[in-house]
Symmetry: C2
Subunit: 503 residues, 2 copies
């Protein structure tokens, strides 16, 4: 990569000995280049000139990032000027920062960036020029991230329209299914569930609630407890800070339910709002907008980010690895928009999320044990027709995780569990329901949250046990009548409470 | 109450026989008055005149509400004009609506209203004049609600600064307390809990999570199951519609966490936002504000509103009463602002909320049984030092529920359970912790949600079992070491998992 960086440093006063400035700049730049570039490439000062209190310096570099050199240069120059000339460096900015790099495959469509720039593309060669970068933007590596984003967008164009990577792993025996209906429709008909007061959310009456809790009990008793997982209770609001670290905020912001705090709790500030509600029985939207702060968090999307946050900055003792914990308290929300269907695809769902942290080989071994326990539950307790597939989820393709090529090794990556839903059509012609997954994500999150152990690599992974999905998969195959339920499941369900009848 | 209502009705065309209009107006008004006022008071047409297409009519009334008369008058006049003159009534409004009523006690401070009005006060006599009321405002009884609001504000001024009504009911024996510390501080010190990533929320590690679940198990096994309560699973977002019906939205809007949906799920619409996050690693607030819709719901504040919603419009069979259900899934949020302290006063908490609906005498009997089971838990299982008090909560004082005077009968109202916290000071000199409550609310919510039975009154009530409060009350008296825990509690707790140690 070739870089050219035009900068302006503002001095605190006119240099008493202007003639001494040029050799000082040359010397400080040489030191800075040596310390920041080293053997990794070459860098030079292409031009430097003083104009009033503004020192203009242009760095060229090949294979090294000149804004790093600039940071070292500005700090050192300030020190030297202070010592020798009793003036300082007030600040600096880049008027122009140009970089030439490779983009593969060459993008077919225009690429946009949300900051002042020009981008020219010639085959696989890109030249990106950012203008007017603040000191903060330079310190914060905006150029590096802008280059990565251009490259990501080019890759994404190439993937566009292609299916998610999917490869069948295992398949259960075929089974006879006593029920062919849509389980949600049937539950609505019997008053087991009612479509909720807000989008894509459901109210489960006593029978449906009992079955959801039965699924939870099976997962804990048959999978989590035998493998030594212990429960934690996590907050159900995810802060923006956490989602910035995991990458969720850049990947999925259109799927979040946002949470906003009131600006104040003072009843006097709310009086006009509450009076209006009392008189009109309507919510005055404009008054409300003035009293509520901008969103600062989201309703839980996935549980693992906050679990990683809990462990952030900690060093885990080797003898406690692999760490095995789970949360079943935070309620998950996804804004599903047009994709909602029954209890299968909802905006609110209840999930147990086991998270595991340990050495890579520990996680691979644990995955085998988890697969074994899940297999036992789906084959022996619930007697489902199901299969597993190796997939690369969107967030791993998109946010700097493993690519499809890594996924081929099948160490880091995700296994999806899918159930056949008879009401959707034939086994071959219909879409099966993803009702469970299991991932090993490598060191992406342990690094992002600075979770360490005494020695060796520390990887992590998680598995999403979606209770509504378990319930729907089961009811879609077995139906709502207990006489068609397998003996193993009936034992767990115990006495199903009668539903509440309405006249 | 004396009313005067000046209205303007807009005709669809000039009356072909203007001379016939006056007697028609008089006749229709007479009918309308008869039907809407009856024996409850008197009403007359004070003036009427036609000006172009505008028919101006002024109603006077004493003891009756002339806007009801106006609605009947306008509908009937339209019918008659259509039949006889082939013209209609396009619409109507009130230019001025004046009412004289009594306010007790006479307010000492000015009273404001959020709509165009004048309000004059002379001792206990108030004259309120609203101007320019739309047809919708008239249909929707804004004047009645404005009068009620003025009266409520006068009462509130009188209560201001006074304590909530509180009367001791029962008191447990005094006990020796092996622990004198602040349990949250001690849990932080031992890494049992970590203060969460957003305000007033906590992450519970394995030991604390286990104890919270132990509290849940005790409540279900010792209280709810023996009394025949069955579980439901409710959504954890409360819609504005529901909160308008319960009155929560007018009572407590500064304590809610608001929920806002994305305006779209389309990644293209979010691209500039996600690109900015990728380059800057900060959330661009203005871009986000443009992509998120105004708040339309809140994170659960109390569970019962959505339970009532679930039953709205239903007729419950008599033989199923009292209906006994509970939710333990929705997570409760309160914006506590300055009042936060440890796990005792938090912005997020986990609560079991039993709700009961039945005849008044059934609920009074059920309350005795609940009190008995709670007493057993606090005396025999947890061995707490606690007391109960009869209180009138703010929302009942404020939103048209029972007043303090009704509470004296102690049928409708709330019982608070309070625990002594040794670390706060002496029994007499320190504030005890409210860790539980139990209410009978009469027919307020069954009426608001149109929940019926075949015959007789249908009342409801609920009880809030705050698991963090149970936990804090227990640990504040017994401490964190199991050897000081009562035998009955230790049986429920079973094997407490080891905490996760960090280096």
């Amino acid at each position: 990569m070739e870089h050219e960086l035009e900068t302006e440093l503002t001095l605190s006063g006119p240099p008493p000995h202007p003639e001494a400035l040029e050799p000082l700049v040359a010397q400080v730049a040489k030191d800075a280049i040596q310390r920041t570039v080293g053997q990794r490439g070459t860098a030079t000062v292409l031009r430097s000139a003083l104009d009033g209190l503004t020192l203009k310096v242009t760095f060229g570099a090949d294979g090294a990032r000149p804004h790093q050199t600039l940071l070292a240069f500005a700090r050192r120059l300030g020190e030297e000027l202070g010592r020798k000339e009793r003036i300082g460096v007030r600040g600096f900015r880049a008027t122009r920062y140009r970089v030439k790099f490779t983009v593969e495959p060459p993008p077919a469509k225009p690429i946009t960036l949300p900051l002042p720039h020009t981008l020219t593309l010639d085959g696989t060669t890109a030249v990106l020029e950012l203008t007017d970068l603040s000191e903060e933007a330079l310190r914060d590596n905006w150029m590096d991230r802008a280059v990565a984003l251009v490259q990501e967008k080019a890759r994404k164009q190439a993937y566009e329209g292609k299916e998610q990577y999917w490869a069948l792993l295992t398949q259960s025996p075929k089974r006879e299914h006593p029920f062919q209906g849509d389980p949600t429709e049937e539950m609505i008909r019997r008053n087991w569930v009612r479509s909720g007061p807000t989008k894509g959310k459901w109210f489960l009456g006593p029978r449906a609630a009992h079955l959801l809790r039965t699924m939870e009990r099976i997962a804990r008793t048959e999978v989590l407890e035998p493998l030594g997982f212990v429960e934690v209770v996590q907050p159900h609001h995810d802060s923006f800070d956490i989602l910035l670290k995991t990458g969720h905020l850049e990947g999925l912001p259109g799927e979040f339910y946002y949470v906003a705090e009131p600006k104040t709790r003072d009843p006097a500030a709310w009086e006009s709002f509450t009076d209006t509600v009392k008189i009109t029985r309507h919510v005055p939207e404009e008054k409300l907008a003035q009293l509520v702060a901008p969103p600062s968090a989201i309703s839980c999307y996935a549980q693992c980010p906050t679990i990683y946050w809990w462990l952030s900055g900690r060093t885990l003792p080797l003898e406690g690895l692999p760490l095995r914990i789970y949360d079943r308290t935070a309620i998950s929300n996804r804004y599903e928009s047009g994709g909602r269907h029954g209890l299968e695809r909802v905006d609110e769902f209840h999930r147990i999320e086991p998270v595991y942290i340990g050495a890579p080989e520990q996680l691979v071994a644990l995955r085998e044990k988890l697969l074994d326990r899940y297999r036992h539950v789906f084959d022996q307790v619930m007697e489902l027709e199901w299969r597993t597939a190796w997939v690369t989820p969107f967030y791993m393709q998109q946010s700097g995780g493993v690519g499809v090529e890594d996924a081929q090794e099948r160490v880091k990556g995700t296994i999806d569990f899918e159930a056949y839903l008879p009401y959707r059509g034939t086994r071959e012609g219909s879409e099966w329901l993803e009702f469970q997954n299991l991932s090993i994500v490598g060191d992406k999150y342990t690094k992002a949250f600075t979770i360490r152990t005494q020695r060796g690599e520390l990887w992590s992974g998680c598995s999403g046990i979606g209770l509504e999905r378990w319930l729907t998969a089961f009811l879609a195959q077995k139906g709502l009548d207990p006489e068609h339920w397998p003996e193993g499941f009936r034992r767990y369900a115990g006495d199903v409470p009668p539903n509440i009848d309405f006249l």
